[in-house]
């Protein structure tokens, strides 16, 4: 059967350029929407925040006074700044243990241990992720209320002592409560992430390992853990960055209290900026938070690329 005579070659007319990088203009155009949005709404404000950190000004005043590194020096000597940082670190470490750890345990059980009701469990456990922090905070305030809250009622019914100052009113307990609420909300996310990682490990690896005599913990150690290494790195970094960025939850549940006990960088920055009008100082702290967060983001790229 003869081919229809369709002239298909038009190549000679093209200019002499390499065939596949020809689209570099197109490539730039395709990158443009993302880069413009990020540039305008993230980069420029971030740069302005950095500049502002070298000035003294209030949000409502038009006068910016250049103060050099004063705002940063002030941060170094401000005990509340250090308290906020240590609270952030506490939340970061606690969240990694509770959320990534808890998520991993639940994921492992749902992946291998349980067949019945798997989808129901995992759907319910994930559900808090889609509920707004504002809603979460309000509901938990009700639950943790020392007078009428269900938690107190349950603990009392078990014959255990309840904290005299309340779950959110006792400085030594309130941070733990924030951890609990954060875990309640986020464990589902980490679980899903790790579950997805687990399910991506080919079954044959387990079969091969079990023929080699590696079962149970050994299989977990030699097959599962290496298989989800990258997912764990990602989960940990999302949690760490989230821990440094935490705001809504603290803002609504404790407002940084009692008496600054749960102040974190986010809320303390907000307080300095909007309640006290110390915009320059707030910007300096925001920059510290920014640099920390960006370094962590960079770490994420490094760690995941190496894998």
């Amino acid at each position: 059967m003869p081919l229809p005579p369709t002239p298909t070659i038009t190549g000679t007319s093209s200019a002499r350029r390499p065939a596949l990088t020809a689209g570099s203009l197109t490539a730039t155009a395709m990158m443009a929407p993302a880069l413009i949005l990020i540039g305008v709404f993230i980069l420029i404000p971030a740069v302005v925040a950095v500049i502002g950190s070298f000035f003294d000004f209030s949000m409502t005043s038009a006068n910016w006074t250049y103060v050099g590194g004063d705002n940063y020096r002030r941060a170094v000597t401000d005990p509340l700044f250090w308290l906020a940082i240590s609270n952030n670190v506490f939340i970061v470490v606690g969240s990694v243990i509770s959320q990534v750890g808890g998520g991993a345990i639940l994921a492992a059980i749902l992946d291998r241990g349980i067949r019945r009701g798997n989808v129901v469990y995992r759907t319910i456990i994930f559900m808090p992720v889609v509920i707004s922090s504002i809603a979460v905070a309000f509901v938990w305030m009700l639950i943790l209320d020392p007078n009428v809250g269900p938690l107190n009622a349950v603990v009392k019914a078990l014959g255990l002592p309840t904290p005299r100052l309340g779950w959110l009113g006792d400085p030594s307990i309130s941070l733990w409560m924030l951890l609990l609420i954060a875990a309640w909300q986020n464990v589902g996310f980490q679980m899903m992430l790790i579950l997805a990682g687990l399910q991506a490990i080919p079954r044959e690896h387990y079969e091969a390992a079990s023929l080699d005599g590696a079962r149970g913990l050994k299989a977990f150690w030699y097959i599962t853990l290496p298989g989800i290494r990258n997912v764990l790195v990602l989960a940990t970094l999302i949690t760490v960055i989230g821990g440094f960025k935490v705001f809504d939850l603290v803002f609504v549940t404790t407002g940084g209290g009692p008496a600054n006990a749960t102040q974190v960088l986010g809320t303390y920055t907000y307080t300095q900026a909007f309640a006290f009008g110390n915009m320059g100082y707030a910007n300096a702290m925001a920059v510290v938070l920014l640099v920390t967060a960006v370094l962590l983001g960079w770490l994420q790229v490094r760690l995941s690329r190496r894998a």
Binding site: M1, L3, T8, I9, T12, S14, A19
Partner: protein, 379 residues
């Protein structure tokens, strides 16, 4: 003028040179197969012709047009991929008609082209299905059909049968040959499977390390391999290679010995040919089908190690203890011999490895075949 012409194509990735100045030409309607081990550059060359890779220098032309810088779709080529590369979100018909749709051809023309291609490939019943509902062979037909509807100047195949099982593969080989005949199209076909190359090709291009080792008809390559590499690559089971050394020079006659032993072969070099130097390492090659217990030259005594009954023939691997093959397909430097099945060899049996003198091929230290050297009897 050749239909497809590749001139001095060089492809570099940073420091790494993948193609170092490759040239060849294919005539209109010719079926050219490129073979070579993985990493030899054959796929890169095919993709460079398709325009999927940008070449560092050189030129490609099709039907007289220089298409070196053209967009892939403007080159008049169609490609069939190893993994079929069917669009999962389109039906078979949509897959096959997609190129024409992108070119904004009228609906009726698209339908006609798809129908015709489907008829050629006998997949008319599957036109409304999605790729995931098809078997591997059917998917491959659709992929070929997609190429046909484009009515290209040159068909490019990138190991199209390697994902199919053996039976289907041989069936598809026949189909492709039939298709080539029916369409009369120029086809360039990449494979690492020499059977495909031998059975389908008008001409074979053997590639190695970014270079073309040899171009020729299948039998040419089998009978007159230009290099030790081609000799080793073409032919199954693989040629036996034996390390040898030049131990005697007398006029145009060169004496070779195997290992430390006495001279076994004398080579008569044609006038004008560069003679090897005393002590040079060369390689003797002999095909398994030429090796047996008859023949003029006794190579060694050996003990049968492994026997593989192939049906009509039997492949016997023997251990010569003192003499080992190099670069061998089998382990341990065993000699491979293809003998008639009736010969009834068993492991442990003592055999004598012999061959006719004309069966030997000699390769110089650089791998080139010493065609102009002919073995003479010695003793």
């Amino acid at each position: 003028m050749s239909h497809l012409e590749v001139r001095d194509v060089v492809k570099r990735y940073g420091q790494l040179t993948v193609l170092s100045g490759v040239s060849f030409a294919a005539q209109r309607g010719e079926f050219v197969v490129m073979v070579g081990p993985s990493g030899c550059g054959k796929s890169t060359l095919l993709r460079s012709i398709a325009g999927l890779e940008e070449i560092s220098s050189g030129s490609v032309s099709i039907a007289g047009h220089d298409i070196t810088a053209a967009e892939p779709s403007d080159r008049g080529v169609a490609m069939v991929f190893q993994n079929y590369a069917l669009y999962p979100h389109m039906t078979v018909a949509q897959n096959m008609g997609f190129a024409l749709k992108v070119a904004r051809r009228p609906r009726s023309e698209i339908d006609a082209a798809v129908t015709r291609a489907a008829e050629i490939l006998r997949i008319t019943d599957h036109l409304g299905k999605y790729p995931k509902a098809l078997s591997g062979g059917q998917k491959q037909r659709v992929a070929i059909g997609r190429a046909i509807t484009r009515a290209p100047e040159v068909f490019l195949f990138d190991e199209p049968l390697s994902n199919l099982d053996a039976a289907l593969r041989s069936q598809m080989r026949i189909e492709l040959s039939r298709l080539h005949r029916e369409l009369g199209a120029t086809m360039l076909y990449v494979t690492h499977d020499q059977t495909e190359a031998m059975t389908m090709a008008d001409r074979i291009i053997v590639m190695n390390g970014g270079n073309i080792e040899q171009i020729g008809s299948p039998l040419d390559l089998y009978n007159r391999p230009a290099t030790r590499f081609v000799a080793g690559f073409i032919g199954s089971p693989r040629m036996n290679f034996i390390a040898a050394r030049v131990v005697r020079l007398s006029g145009r006659t060169v004496g070779l010995s195997l290992g430390e032993g006495r001279p076994l072969l004398d080579l008569e070099f044609a006038p004008g040919e560069t003679l090897p130097v005393l002590g040079d390492a060369v390689t003797l090659g002999i095909r398994p089908e030429a090796l047996g217990d008859g023949g003029e030259i006794h190579l060694a005594d050996a003990e049968v190690a492994v026997v593989e009954a192939l049906g009509r023939e039997t492949l016997v691997y023997s251990d010569a203890h003192t003499l080992r093959t190099t670069d061998s397909e089998s382990l341990d430097g065993y000699f491979a011999a293809l003998v008639p099945s009736q010969s009834d060899k068993r492991p442990g049996q003592r055999v004598s490895l012999r061959a006719d003198r004309s069966a030997f091929v000699v390769f110089a230290a650089d791998g080139a075949t010493l065609h102009d050297a002919s073995p003479v009897h010695h003793e």
